[in-house]
Every structure is written in C-alpha cells, then in structure tokens.
C-alpha cells in the first residue's frame, strides 16, 4: 500500500519548500484583523513550522532525524535559502536545523502554573528566516532545481515515505511556462508512492474568496491558477482527514491546491501537507 512506509532515522523522509521571493511578495495580504506583507507571512510561517517539526522530533537526548528539510527560494536568485551553518545545502537534517537557528528571540508566553492558573514564562523562539522580496519569478528554474534535489534524495532513499513539496507563490512565472517542469516533480517516486506537491497561491486581492482543496478547475479565475491546480497532487486519505480536522470538506478527488490563501489558511494548508505520520 502506498504512503505507508515507516519514517525512522534509518529511513527518513523529506520536505522541500519552494518559496517565491519575487518583488511582489512585498505586497500586503489579510492577516487576522489587519494586513501583513506576504513575504513576512511566509517567513513567520516557515519559522513556526520548523519550530513545530523540531519539537515533534525532539526526544530527551536531542532531535531525531526523521526528516530532512530543503528550502529553495526563487526571486533575484534561485537556490537553497538557509543561512549560516547550512548555506548552500540542498537538504538539511532536522536535528541540525533545530540546533542552529539564525537567532533565538526571547518571548513571553502564558503557561499553566500547575495549580489551575496561568503564569508568564520567557520562552526562546528560534528564527531561521527573515522576509525576502526581490527580483522576478523564475519558477521554471526553481522547478528544475527541485527536480535535481528530489532526484538526489530518492536515489539515496529509494524506499522512503514519499517527499512532500510545498510550493508557495504569488505570481506568474517570468522565465517561461513551468507546467511540464512542475508536473515532472510528481512523476518522481519512491517505492512507497509518488512525490506529493502542494501548490499554495497567495493573492493580494482583498475581494478574493479563498478556495481550498477544490476538485475541479471550473471556478478558478485564470490559466495560471488552473495550471497550479492541475499540477497539484490529489489529497491522500490521511490529508483529507487532516483537512476535515481543520474544518474543510474536501471531496475524494480534491487536490492539494489553495488559492488566495491568507495567513491562517497558509498555516493550515502547510499543516495538512506536512503533519508527521508513521514516525518510529
């Protein structure tokens, strides 16, 4: 049965993020009661997600390498966008990511005081990414880079739980039609199933209605969003169950595609795409 491989330190899986860092990511989108720059929303979400994954994989002796994570930015440059310790590395084990944030910020958090109340506690908050928005949208090059990285990963880990790619973009490609290159990503596979691709479209349009996990392209506004819908993977049964936990109602043919995502939806969509499963 596909998507049932055990995820262990001997047989890790990976997440690969493709992040649009073009100039238009400076625009604002809805965030709670106000607005937030798209690039800031994406970097906050990435920092929060890396924090959660590190904690999920943490045991008393340290963080276990159930996953490796790659983050490819595309804008003025195309390539891995971790700084510091991992500059230039395609895939980084989660233990190294956890042990080497760019910085640790002190934040106050309410925690249970053990007697039914709450108390303030200073918590260290790790930061790996800062907002970046500069240059065009070289999506074709980013997809080719992702294909190379996934090919290397699958050669080294042929029986892994299939890699999950999260692609976050706000605009049309400026270096050609990326359709076939993106489609190629989900044609790749391990012995446990095909690579899964989530396409998440951020939109600055304040009147746009978010569309989450649709099963048809009929209501999508343009060829570009239709291309992102059609290249996205079908949601797996596990992901459909997670989507229902978040209040969505995906049909059996729903795809891993979200249009006009605000920050809440972005966080939910990434959670649905990446919630660790089968950890051993």
């Amino acid at each position: 049965m596909a998507y049932s491989a055990e995820i262990s330190r001997d047989n890790p899986s990976c997440f690969l993020f493709l992040i649009d860092q073009s100039t238009s990511m400076e625009e604002d989108i809805a965030a709670g009661d106000g607005t937030q720059q798209k690039a800031t929303g994406v970097s906050d979400t990435m920092n929060r997600w890396l924090q959660e994954l590190s904690i999920k994989c943490a045991k008393s002796e340290g963080v276990r390498d159930y996953y490796h994570v790659g983050v490819i930015g595309y804008g003025k440059k195309v390539g891995p966008c971790f700084d510091g310790e991992f500059v230039g590395q395609d895939m980084v084990p989660i233990s190294q990511i956890a042990d080497n944030p760019a910085r640790l910020e002190e934040r106050s958090k309410k925690v249970p005081d053990g007697a039914g109340g709450l108390m303030d506690q200073n918590i260290r908050f790790p930061v790996w990414f800062d907002p970046t928005a500069d240059g065009g949208t070289p999506m074709c090059r980013a997809a080719s880079e992702a294909e190379r990285i996934l090919n290397d990963w699958l050669t080294a880990h042929p029986d892994c739980y299939p890699p999950i790619v999260i692609h976050i973009t706000d605009g049309e490609a400026t270096d050609g039609d990326p359709t076939e290159r993106i489609r190629q990503l989900t044609n790749m596979s391990s012995s446990d199933g095909n690579v899964m691709l989530f396409n998440i479209h951020l939109s600055a349009n304040p009147n746009a209605t978010p569309i989450s996990f649709p099963d048809s392209a009929d209501d999508l506004p343009d060829d570009y969003s239709k291309m992102l819908f059609e290249t996205a993977s079908p949601l797996s049964p596990t992901m459909r169950a997670l989507a229902k936990e978040h209040g969505f109602s995906p049909s059996e043919s729903a795809r891993a595609f979200v249009l006009n995502a605000d920050m809440v939806l972005l966080v939910q969509a990434i959670d649905i795409g990446t919630r660790p499963a089968n950890l051993r």
């Binding site: 590190s54 904690i55 943490a58 340290g62 950890l279 051993r280």
Partner: protein
C-alpha cells in the same frame, strides 16, 4: 502465596537500548512467599520527551504503593528540569526541549495487585517486604485486581485458557490514540474515572498473569482470537528467546515495531 516473576523487553528495531521507553516493576525477577504483591508495566509515548522517565516513575509508584500522581509529577518535573538526568547539573535544556516539556510526557499503565486468600485487595496495599525463598505449598488461591489507563494489558491465564483480559478486550480495539497518563495535566485527577479501567477476579494456584505493553498485547489477543493460544510458549520464554521471538514476529509483519515488554507472574 508463592510468586515468581520475570520481565522481558526489547526496544524498537532501530533504537538503542537507552532509547527504550517502556518500564516494568519489579525490575528484577523475584521468587518468594508473600501475602500481597504488586507489579506494573508502563509504555512511554513515542511522541513525548522524557516519557521513559515518566513510565519508570509510574511503575515504581504503583509497585511501591505510592501512586499519588501529584507527587510523581513533581518528581518528573524536578528530573526534567535538570535535563532528565536526575542530578542538579544546572544545565539549560535546548529550546526545543524547553518547549516540549511544557506539554509533559505521556504513558499507558497497567498495574496488578494480588492478594493471598479471598479478601479484597486494597488500593494502597504496600509492596511486599518479605524476602523468603521457601515455597509454601497449599495456598487456596486469592483475589486479584488490575488498574489500567491506556492500552497496556493484563492477561489472566489458567492452564491454556484465557480467564480474563483488560483493559482492551479485542485486538481490533487497538488504535494509535489511547488515553494516557500525563505528567503535566492537573485536570486528570478530577476527570480520571472514565479513563481508568478496573479488572478483577480470583486466582487459583498454578495460574499465570501476563502484563504487556500494546504491541505484544495486540499480538497476544490476535493469536487468542485466531485459536492459537500462545500461553504455553510464553511460560517457556527466557530473556534471549524473548528477543529472538520478538524479532521473528516483527520480520513476519505480525508484531508492530514498537518497544515490547512482557511480564510473567506465576502464582501458587
């Protein structure tokens, strides 16, 4: 009554011995005459940190008749605050453990109390203090009671018959989200009743009890349901044969790759 116990364990395939997160009490096998006896198996949750420590505190607390959760939680917090080593090292936890321990550790627990004669077993019965080694023949039997939270199970076996099992009664009832005892949840004590299972009965000389964490319990129930009673084979197990047996079942795909623990308690 005469009690003889032996416990066997095997960490998950791929994990080191130091990463084993089940626990059992007593930690060494015993063979002696006692009037009351308590033993326990706990299964620390894979998704928590310091859950092996929590499982050890729970089985020792139950086994020694000092099962006050508030006290055990303090002991856990004190040890974890020091990095889990138990000594005051003053070492700060890394940020990810600092956050993770706020959620506490979780574990399933099954504890068994045995009493000679047919009187009721009181929950606070102390651990046996006797150290005798002479077998006294002729016990008429007695009563037993098991307390469980989660999916670690007790099996009461007479000859080759399963007399009682709990808290899970069928192999199909195992899932990945049992209710567990938390090291950080003050609400639990007030809401515990619906999650605590009690199983009780009478034992006869020659009976055997098995306590097991979930993977082994699941397999035992499946074998029983399939008409292949495994009890005689389990009575013959030793530490080395247990590990070989576990590895064989894992390879055959019939035993989940999880920490595996089995305690055998023979009573006469």
């Amino acid at each position: 009554m005469w009690i003889r116990t032996e416990a066997f364990h095997a960490p998950k395939r791929g994990n080191a011995e130091s990463e084993y997160e089940d626990a059992f009490f007593p930690e060494s096998g015993i063979a002696r005459e006692v009037s009351t006896f308590r033993c326990a198996v706990a299964d620390g949750a894979s998704e928590s940190a310091f859950s092996g420590l929590w499982a050890r505190l729970l089985v020792r607390g139950f086994g020694r008749g000092r099962m006050r959760l508030a006290r055990l939680r303090k002991l856990w917090q004190r040890a974890v605050g020091n990095g889990g080593g138990g000594a005051d090292t003053g070492k700060q936890l890394p940020w990810y453990l600092e956050k993770k321990v706020l959620n506490g550790a979780h574990a399933a627990l099954v504890g068994l109390s045995l009493r000679d004669g047919n009187g009721a077993v009181r929950p606070a019965d102390p651990a046996p203090a006797g150290n005798g080694t002479d077998r006294v023949v002729g016990s008429l039997g007695g009563s037993w009671r098991a307390v469980a939270v989660g999916d670690s199970c007790v099996f009461h076996v007479r000859a080759d018959e399963l007399v009682a099992v709990g808290p899970v009664g069928k192999s199909e009832q195992f899932n990945n989200s049992p209710f567990l005892l938390a090291s950080k949840s003050p609400q639990f004590i007030r809401r515990s009743d619906e999650y605590v299972s009690l199983v009780a009965g009478s034992w006869q000389p020659g009976d055997t009890f098995f306590l097991a964490s979930d993977a082994i319990s699941h397999w035992l129930l499946a074998e029983h349901e399939a008409g292949r009673p495994p009890w005689s084979m389990l009575r013959a197990l030793g530490p080395e044969t247990f590990r070989l047996f576990v590895e064989k079942l894992r390879t055959a795909g019939v035993l989940h790759n999880d920490d595996s623990t089995l305690m055998r308690v023979e009573v006469a």
